[in-house]
Amino acid sequence: MADAEARAESPAEEQAETTLPLTRREFLYYLWGASMAVFMAGTGGATIWFALPRFQEGEFGGVFTLAVDQIPPANSGPADFPEGRFWLVNNGDPILDDPRQPEVYPVQQGVKALYKVCVHLGCLYKWVATNDRFECPCHGSKYLLTGSRIDGPANRNLDVFIIEAVDAEGNVLTRTEPAMDGREGTAVTIPPEAVSLRIDTGRRVQGAPNTAPGGGL
């Protein structure tokens, strides 16, 4: 930040400054300065590229393959997959009919992989069986097994990872799709021919916006 005091210039000096012709030397200085600025900008960009983290494949960030018998039974609590940082939930009718579920979000039967990180500020929310909901210990955001937010300062539903149900030959039978404007991944109904699920923790579908008290838009 340059010194804030301005020097008073006499009108004659001002006149003299503006009528000085641009010499080659002066021009070259300006050109050099501009090129230094461009170089610094480039260095800045290269530094950011240098410092960005590299994601490891096969660990969190990569694809997890589960046999279909690892899917929890319908309507039981969520299954914990800490290495993948997700909860696997299998939602049947009782869960979908939960009176706390906000109406505006499309819910269907099937399996979802809920990202364990609360969408508010990054803490890991917990499953509280006595209250039949997820609760975040940091600021109190609460979510149902469908992933819908029902309380707290979070501003959207839980993010989900993309699940692909795969048959014995490796064909993808069905997968998670965004259901609301590129967000709110659907639950995946597991077809009988499916033998495994592929859960891609590198691709996440964000939850739909949810800010109303009690859940909703």
């Binding site: 005091e5 800490p82 990180v117 990054g122 609760e135 940091c138 707290g152």
Partner: protein, 536 residues
């Protein structure tokens, strides 16, 4: 030929002096000369004269070290005696600098034994506390110094605001000072992560999420990834925070401090508002009769303050203040009631008001920007308190609002998880040992105890805990109807007891009795109170 003679007959200048003046005089002159060079201007008689308290000659040789020397170059040769008294609020700038230096020194000591890797960081902390002589003292002093420094810098800012010392021509001094406050806060915050315990990891994870909230989305995501070096705070994140803490921010602090202090000196320390005429900045021109010279007067005082403060910090850290060490960081489990460090409680309070983009980034950003540039929009040169009623009221209101927001940032306010978890967390908190583990082990006799029957418990420690348990259940009475609390203490292993707390209540929805319980293991030698903040 002369050249060959030169090898065999070397010319030693000092022999010339001895031949001319005699040995004794030569030694005296050489000594004087050396001392004058080392002190940059004071030979032995001048030095002794200063130490004896004699009147200096004219021109005053005690100003030469300032003019010619490196170390005293930026320090003023003399102060206005109106600003040298030890008022409660003057000298806070000096105190801030003292703490910066203190932190650098204690920090370097700690660097001998610390490696910023999640695999060893926690064990390093344990080693510092258990196998390094004076390790705990160094760590406690470093932590104490950090917390006091934040308070001192904030108070210094408040003092400058109240006395209107930010007005022209000192606006940029104020601006660099406001930035220095932020550097101090981030220094403290980045250091918070380094012990790699549960509170460190999660408090910093939440704080770093603020980076992600930066609009627009691409900028926020990139900033977040740069700060963490990964999807969550792990090895890369710890290293980056360490680099920030140890070199990045100290460099920024030194640069900003250099500019800040230089401007303080060339404009002169601003006098109290009533000591100068309105609109006149007379601080720079100190009349002869008001001068108090740095050498020896101010220097002596500063050395004394350093000695006194160091003693105070050592004594406090040795017996009254201890930096806590929570359980090892667990990236899979977020503990209940993670709180920000006290100087960020206001931010945590703001976040409870709503959307994190607005309350976590935009509003604090606006507050910071305004606080940095407002001196440039000031209305007039009058620093007298009477003329600044609106401004001073504004300052008072801001302080009050900060206090309220800070209270809102504590776990007391808002965020409640289910009542049974709250009750259990009061006795067995997830971020620090809590009242149960701080009790006397020998008094925790085996048996089954009911909270309602606390008076019948055999020992004082049991009575205390059961009493707290009971109070807690009653406080949550409306969400836990018919609540009962039971505590079971069993012998588990040699020196180890298992304590189970059970909360039973009638569920509001179904009317059936529900139970929630939590157990912990309590060892005779665990001495948890040693690593709580104000333990022994």
């Amino acid at each position: 030929m002369d050249f060959i003679r030169g090898i065999f007959e070397p010319h030693i200048p000092i022999l010339d002096d001895i031949k001319e003046k005699g040995v004794r005089q030569t030694i005296e002159d050489t000594a004087n000369d050396s001392v004058r060079r080392v002190t940059a201007g004071l030979d032995i008689p001048a030095l002794r004269g200063m130490l004896r308290g004699d009147e200096p000659g004219r021109p005053n040789p005690r100003l030469t070290p300032h003019a010619d020397g490196f170390w005293l170059h930026m320090r003023p040769g003399f102060y206005n005696n109106l600003v040298t008294g030890l008022y409660p609020s003057f000298r806070l700038g000096w105190l801030s600098t003292f703490f910066l230096t203190f932190e650098i020194i204690t920090g370097v000591y700690l660097m001998f034994w610390y490696t910023p890797s999640p695999l060893v960081a926690y064990q390093n902390m344990v080693d510092i506390l258990s196998t390094v002589p004076f390790g705990r003292l160094m760590r406690d002093m470093h932590r104490l110094g950090a917390e006091v420094m934040v308070a001192v810098v904030a108070l210094h800012m408040l003092r400058t605001l109240v006395t209107g010392s930010y007005k022209k021509p000192r606006q940029f001094t104020w601006a660099t000072g406001a930035l220095l406050l932020w550097v101090t806060l981030v220094l403290s915050f980045s250091g918070y992560l380094l012990p790699w315990d549960q509170l460190s990891l999660w408090a910093v994870t939440i704080g770093a999420s603020m980076a992600e909230a930066f609009p627009p989305e691409v900028v926020g995501q990139t900033l977040n990834l740069l700060v963490r070096g990964g999807p969550d705070i792990g090895a890369n994140g710890l290293l980056r925070f360490y680099l920030l803490h140890v070199i990045g921010l100290p460099l920024a602090a030194l640069v900003l401090f250099g500019v800040h202090y230089y401007k303080v000196v060339i404009h002169g320390h601003s006098l109290a508002p009533e000591d100068e005429n309105i609109g006149e900045d007379t601080a720079k021109k100190v009349p002869l009769d008001k001068r108090e010279y740095f050498l020896p007067t101010i220097a002596t005082r500063e050395l004394f303050y350093v000695a006194g403060l160091t003693l105070l910090l050592i004594v406090t850290s040795a017996w009254f203040y201890h930096a806590p060490l929570e359980p090892h960081a667990d990236p899979q489990v977020t503990p209940l009631h993670t709180t920000a460090p006290w100087y960020f409680l206001w931010l945590q309070g703001m976040l409870k008001l709503g959307d994190k983009v607005i309350w976590g980034v935009i509003v604090p950003g606006a507050i910071t920007t305004i606080s940095v540039v407002f001196p440039y929009f000031e209305l007039g040169p009058n620093r007298r308190y009477a003329a600044r009623r609106i401004g001073l009221s504004g300052a008072a209101v801001s302080v009050f609002v900060l206090a309220v927001l800070s209270f809102m940032g504590t776990p007391w306010y808002a965020v409640q998880s289910s009542a049974d978890q709250e009750v259990l967390a009061e006795l067995l908190p997830q971020t620090h040992p809590g009242p149960l583990l701080n009790s006397d082990w020998d008094e925790f006799e085996t048996g089954t105890y009911e909270a309602a029957n606390w008076q019948a418990a055999p020992t004082p420690a049991l009575r205390n805990i059961l009493h707290e348990f009971n109070e807690s259940l009653q406080r949550h009475g409306d969400t836990l109807p018919n609540a009962e609390g039971i505590m079971v203490v069993e012998n588990w292993q040699s020196g180890l007891r298992k304590v189970t707390l059970r909360v039973l209540w009638d569920s509001i929805e179904t009317g059936e009795q529900t139970e929630s319980s939590q157990s912990t293991y309590f060892h005779q030698d665990s001495a948890h109170e040693v690593t709580t903040r104000f333990g022994g």
